[in-house]
Structures are given as C-alpha cells and as structure tokens.
Amino acid sequence: MTGLRADFRLARGDFRLDVAISTPGQGVTALFGRSGCGKTTLLRCLAGLERAAGGCRLGEEVWQDDGRRLFVPTHRRPIGYVLQEPSLFPHLSVRGNLEYGWRRVPARRQQVVFDEVVELLGLGRHLDRSPAGLSGGERQRVSVARALLTSPRLLLMDEPLSALDHASKQEILPYFERLHDGLRLPIVYVSHSPDEVARLADQMILLQGGRVLGAGPVAELLVRLDLPLARDTEAGAVIDGRVAEHDDVYGLTRIAIAGGRLALPRLDRPIGAPARVRIHARDVSLALDEPGTSSILNILPVRILEIVELDRTQVLIRLAAGRDDETQVLARITRRSRDLLRLAPGREVYAQVKAVALVD
C-alpha cells in the first residue's frame, strides 16, 4: 500500500469536518466540492498545517495517530504543497525560491534533478528574475516547481488554477498534464471546476458540508445521478478511449471506446494512443431510430439506465454503451421529449452527440 489513508474530525464554530479518505499510490485524486465544504481544511490537515482529531498515513509511514499521540509536524512530512495564491518568497529570486526547499532535503533523499524540474515547468529563462516581475501563471509554475524540488512523496494542490485568468490557465494546464503523466506519486488536487477535474483527475472525492458524499473513479462519479455533479450546467461524462484511425481526407480522428467509436477533429497522436474525451449532458440528444441523414457525426447505440427529473422542464438521463455498460454518458433533455418518446429505463435508443471535447 503506497497510497494515502486518512480520517479527520474537526469542529470549528458551525463547521464540522468528519471524513475518511484514501487514494491510490499514484495519479490525481480530485477533492471536489463547493466553497466551504471543507476541502481546503482537509488538505491542510493532510499537510499537518491544521490539527484535527484522527489519523493519517502515507503507505507505511504514519504521520498522525492520535491513539499513539503521534503527530509529525509539517516540515518533517515529505509533501509538496501548492496554494491557490502563488505564494513565492518576495525577498528571494526565482532561483532562491526554488532552492529553498531543495537545499533542505538531504542529497540521499533527493529523487529529482534540479535542471529537469526547471525544464519540466519551463522556468529556465526566469531563474534570475524577482517574483514580483512574473505573470500569475509563471508564479504558479515556480511554486509547483519549488514543491516538486523537495522530492515529495505526496503532492497537495489547493485550487492552483483558480486565482489565474483564462489565458494563464490555458498556459499552465499542459504543464500540469505533464506532471500527471510524468510523476509516480499521488496528487491530491482541490478543485471546484468540473472541467478541471475531467481534464486532470483519475479519482475523485466529493465533499459536501464536511462529509464525503462519494468517492471513486472520475468517470463513474461524474455520471452518478444521485450526486450534485450531474445537476451542474457543466455536467457531463468523461470517456477514456484509444486512437483507432485517422481520416486525413476530412481531417478527423476516430477513437475507439467501449461500445462504439467517436469522431473528433484530427489529433496529432499515433494509432493506439490514449485519449480522454468529455461529453456534456447538454450536447446529447436522443432518437428512437437510427438517424439516417443527420449532420451529427457521432451517434451511439445506448441503453437507458436511469432517469431523474431536474425541474419542471428538464430531465437527466444516464445512458450506457458497451457490453458491460463500460461507457456511460449523460443526456439532458426536456420532460416533454421524455414523455413524447416514452423513454424509460431499459429502452434502447440512439444518442446523438453534438460535441466531443478532447480533454487529455
């Protein structure tokens, strides 16, 4: 077991935190929820910046065990922590910031090469600058690099993108995806953006009012109708597939998913490469017969698993494709359409997908 396991209980004024969580030994686990749900507090407890009752361990290493009166202070935990605001030391240069943690880790424990991390986050040109002269995105890249240079065995990120404008976000996301693919360590990533979660996370822990509402693989949680995620206007499914063929005549790439194929604008990836796509619930409509003539490229034969009413006008439908329902998507349609088409769980229909977005 190399993953993280923790349970915390904390009462502060009206707020109560009462959670038990675990993560795999690598990959990104998103802590997802509205502001005030306790995700930052939970992250601070994991870092030892906040002390709640309970316990916390990473693999075999115990960081907190109230039964044994054990509490390892923050500076002795092998963590990297990235805050929402890029908090660089203003009295040090970029290099000084990067070296701050790097120097404090004994050489025999160092797992990363300084220049490689600088390269990974594209900071070579900025080393001798002062943090005050950097853009928001550059600053956040420095704080990520600074955290990685301590050779952490757990990376904690507290909404590292939310303080950035759209352009900076787009600039920094590819670096984060590289982290996700390149690092063999668990990352706990606090977020309140479904799109960010769909793009970066493998696992998800959904928090509400200081409790865990649900936990599991992102693809499963995003389509669970009993969770508030599916009710979001940005709600949608993520599907992992592989590049199956390129169509250079029309500039398309088809990716194979369980139960069908999806066409996307031409991708610059080899056949067989993994591709993760996102399909918003609002972009899926349903038809009883296979539509013969339609401008819509992606039509999947699916089976209705579940229907819930969102309000007087709309319903949300969970659909499955593939032999064992491996591919699941959501469709948001009107209540009127549901009644008109007599849609009910178990019926086989055709899902017309208006937009498929590549997320990774």
Partner: protein, 225 residues
C-alpha cells in the same frame, strides 16, 4: 568639548547600544508572541508594554530606584547574596532604560510580524523548514523594515532619556552621567555655550538618524511595492 562631556557622550552611546541589544533579544520573542497569540492575557501585556509611553519618566524612575536600591526587592536580594545593589550603577541604568524603551522595540516589531502573516511561514514549513529556520529565513527578512524602525527608535529614544536616568542613575561620570544630564548641568551653571553644543549636536544627530531610516524604508517601499 570638555573631557567630561566626551565621557558623557561615550556613556550615552554605550547605554543606548546595550539597551537596544538587550531589547532586541527580549522584545523580539515578546512581539512575536503578541502578534500571534489569541490569549486574553495579551491585551494586558500590551497595555503594560505601552505604559512607558504615557507615564512621566520620573514615576518609572522612582519605582526603579526603589526596586533596585538596597532596600528594594531586587537590590535588597542582591545585597543579601553579597552582591552590590543596582541604584546609581550602569547596570541599573540599563535595566531601567530597557523598561523605559520597551514599547519602541515591541510595537514596530509586533506590527511587522503581523504584516508578515502566517501564509509565508506555512509555505516554508511545507518546504521542510523547521520553526527557527522559518523565523530567520522568512520572518526576519520580510520584517526587516520593522526591525530597522524598532532598533532605531529604541536607540534614539534611549539617547534622549532624562527623567529615568536622573532618578536611577544620578550623575556619576563614566558610569551614569549621560548627555541629557550633562546638558542639564551646563544650563544650570549658565554655561550656555556647552549646552548649545551638546543640544545642537544631539538634535542634528537624531534628525539625521531618523531621516536615514525613513529614507531607507521609503526607498524599500518604492522598490518592493
């Protein structure tokens, strides 16, 4: 300037330097505690620290004289142990000055520590820095303007004290006779030339010192917005 006045200048600088050093060592942890604590005791402690700002120096000096003298709790205890009491000594003067100048050290430091906040020290903790390490590599550099202000004000304020010295120190050349006392003596004996020299010198030196500090702080502000 007479030899006696030179000696008074040396005594003054010595007293101010030692007092500033002692206060830096004692005042820093006190200011740190005041900036961080949620304890109710802190309010009372802050009021006590600020007392020298409002009390006439003679009141403070009087109590110090009583406490440090041969019959006082401190001086008496020392005598019972076979040590000399502290009234009319340089050490006694340092103790009295330390209390007298306490707010000038503690308040700027407390404000500076509060402005540094906890975020940067938490970040340093996640970067493997222990408590002392964090204090010296993050808090002190970020609070350096506060330190500069505190040290300067404490030094200048100690140079300028009179009432406390008069009560506790007396007028022993080379031991407790400081500039402010020397000026008082010269004015008493109608030696206005000497009084002018010392007073003008003190005025100019104090002004230049404060001007330098404010210039440095202003420039720092301009360079690091």
């Amino acid at each position: 300037m007479s030899d006696r006045d030179w000696l008074a200048l040396v005594t003054t600088l010595e007293l101010s330097a030692v007092t500033t050093l002692v206060l830096l060592i004692l005042g820093t942890p006190l200011a740190w505690w005041l900036a961080r604590t949620n304890s109710r005791l802190a309010v009372a402690v802050e009021a006590v620290v600020a007392l020298p700002l409002v009390l006439p120096p003679t009141v403070l000096g009087f109590y110090m004289l009583v406490a440090l003298g041969p019959r006082g709790p401190i001086g008496g205890t020392l005598e019972a142990l076979g040590l000399p009491h502290l009234a009319f000594t340089f050490t006694g003067l340092v103790i009295a000055s330390t209390i007298y100048s306490l707010p000038f050290m503690v308040q700027p430091l407390k404000d500076a520590f509060a402005a540094v906040g906890s975020r940067m020290t938490e970040v340093a903790a996640t970067l493997r820095a222990g408590p002392w390490d964090r204090f010296f590599t993050v808090v002190v550099p970020l609070a350096r303007r506060g330190f500069l202000t505190a040290v300067t004000l404490t030094f200048a304020h100690t140079v300028g004290e009179f009432g406390v010295v008069l009560m506790v120190g007396g007028n022993i050349p080379g031991e407790t006779r400081v500039l402010s006392i020397a000026i008082y003596d010269h004015a008493e004996s109608m030696d206005y030339a000497s009084a002018h020299l010392l007073s003008g010198g003190l005025l100019a030196a104090s002004f230049l010192l404060l001007l330098t500090v404010y210039l440095v702080n202003r420039r720092y502000l301009l360079v690091h917005p």
